[in-house]
Symmetry: C2
Subunit: 254 residues, 2 copies
C-alpha cells in the first residue's frame, strides 16, 4: 500500500515538499521510506503521486516531488454521520469504519439518552484522539480527505452548523413502527432536484427521545427510516446505513 | 428488548416449554424474568411469542407457554460470508457484525496468506467461542436463527461443503484492477433464473493468492468484485459487502 500524507495547502505538479512533524517521523522512522519510493500526497485540490527525493532520518523529515495526479477516491455524494454520543470506546470503531466506507463528516451530538458526560476539557482531548483515528483510517482506505469530527452538546449548535450546508436531507434511524425503509427514502432523495449532503442520524444506545424526534422532524425536516427487521446496535447502525446510502448512489463499486 | 431463546425442536401454539441450562440461567438469574413477562422463542419452524409461567431461581430454569406466532426477521435471500482466517480477535467483530446484519452462515477458510494456525483442538474451542458470539448477536438483533460457523483448512473441504447447497453464486472481493463493481454483479445475479445462497468471499489481511484466485474462478465460478476505490480492511469488507447484497435484495429496509 502506497504511503499517504494529507496536506492542507494547494500543490502542483513539479513542486517539491518537505514533510516534517508527525508525518515526517512516520515516513522517515516508522515506514523508513527510501529515495525513489512512491508516496501519495492528498490535498484539498486533488491527490498526487510523489517520489521521495531525500530522507533525513535524524530530523525525521522527508522531501518529495509531485509527479502526477491520482484519480479521486472520494464519493461525489457527501454522506455525514450524526451519531448520538454512545458509551465507552464505541466511537473509535464507529469513526474508523465509517471513515473507511467513505463518510464525509462525523457530527457527534450529546443526546438526552447519552450516558457519557463530556466537559469542555475532556471533549478537546477526545476529539483529538478521534481525529487521529479518522486520519489513520482515511490513510489506510486511500482516501483523498479526512472526515472532520464535530462535537455538539446541544441541538441548537447543531442546527446552526447544518445551516451552513444549505439543503441537507436527514435520514433519522428510528426503531419506531411504521417508518419508511431506508431504500425508498434514499431513492426519494435521489429523485429530488436538490443536492447537498445526506445526514444519517443514529441515536445512542437508548435511541432517540420523543422531544428529539420532534425536533428532527419539525426543525430539520428529517425522514424516519428503518434498516429492516433486524435490530442493530448503535455502533453497527451507522456504518450499515452509510454503506446503504453510498451503495444506492453507486459510490461503492457500481 | 424482548428476551429471546433459540430452540432446535418444533413447537406449536399452546405448548409449554421448560428452559434450562445456559438459557435457563440467563433468563432466571441474569435477566430475572417474571411470571407473565413476554419472551420470544425462535425455532426452525418459526418464532413465537411466549409468556413466562414459572421461574425457578434455584434450579435456574423457567417454564413458558407459546401464545402466538411472530413475524420472521430473516432475509429471504441467503447470504453466506466466506472469510479468509484473519489475525487476532478480528473474527469476533466480523461474526458479531455480520450476524446482526443478517448473514445466513459463516464459513472460515485457512488461506495461503492466513497467518493464524488453528490446530484441531484449538479450532474446536475457538469455534465454540465464535458460535457463542453469533448466538448473542442473533439474539440482540432479534433474529429467528443463529448463523452456523464452519471452519475449513483446505479448499477441497470447502468445495464439498458448498456442493450440498446446489447452485451457489460467489462474489470474490478482490482489489485487483479491472474487476466488476459489486452492484452490477449482484444485479446480474438477480436477473438469473437460479436461486440459492450468495457467498461473499473475503480474503485475509494479505488478500488472495493467485492460485486461490484461479481456484475460485475455475472451480467455484466466482465473480471478482470491487467495493469501489476506498480500500477496506478485511474486518470491514465482509460486513460492508453483506450489507450491500442484502440491501440490493431489499432485505435491509426496502
Amino acid at each position: 500500500m502506497m504511503p499517504r500524507v494529507f496536506r492542507k495547502e494547494s500543490l502542483s505538479i513539479g513542486a517539491s515538499l518537505i514533510i516534517t512533524g508527525e508525518d515526517g517521523h512516520h515516513f522517515a522512522r516508522v515506514l523508513r521510506v527510501r529515495c525513489g519510493e512512491e508516496v501519495a500526497v492528498a490535498t484539498p485540490g486533488g491527490t498526487y503521486l510523489a517520489v521521495v527525493q531525500q530522507v533525513f532520518g535524524e530530523e525525521a523529515s522527508v522531501t518529495v516531488q509531485i509527479i502526477s495526479s491520482l484519480p479521486s477516491h472520494e464519493p461525489q455524494q457527501q454522506v455525514f454521520l450524526l451519531q448520538g454520543l454512545p458509551k465507552g470506546d464505541k466511537l473509535e470503531l464507529i469513526i474508523q469504519k465509517c471513515t473507511a466506507v467513505g463518510v464525509a463528516e462525523v457530527l457527534l451530538l450529546k443526546t438526552k439518552r447519552s450516558v457519557v458526560q463530556l466537559d469542555a476539557k475532556k471533549a478537546t482531548a477526545k476529539i483529538r484522539r478521534w481525529e487521529r483515528i479518522a486520519l489513520e483510517a482515511a490513510s489506510q482506505a486511500q482516501r483523498d480527505s479526512v472526515p472532520a469530527i464535530h462535537y455538539f452538546d446541544a441541538v441548537g449548535d447543531l442546527e446552526r452548523f447544518m445551516a451552513s450546508f444549505g439543503k441537507v436531507r436527514v435520514l433519522l434511524l428510528d426503531e419506531a413502527e411504521q417508518v419508511q425503509g431506508i431504500r425508498s427514502a434514499v431513492q426519494g432523495i435521489q429523485s429530488e432536484a436538490e443536492n447537498g449532503p445526506i445526514v444519517v442520524a443514529v441515536g445512542p444506545e437508548g435511541g432517540w427521545d420523543d422531544d428529539e424526534r420532534i425536533w428532527w422532524h419539525n426543525v430539520m425536516g428529517a425522514r424516519s427510516v428503518s434498516l429492516g427487521p433486524r435490530i442493530l446496535r448503535t455502533e453497527t447502525a451507522g456504518v450499515v446505513a452509510v454503506t446503504a446510502v453510498l451503495y444506492e448512489f453507486g459510490e461503492l463499486g457500481g
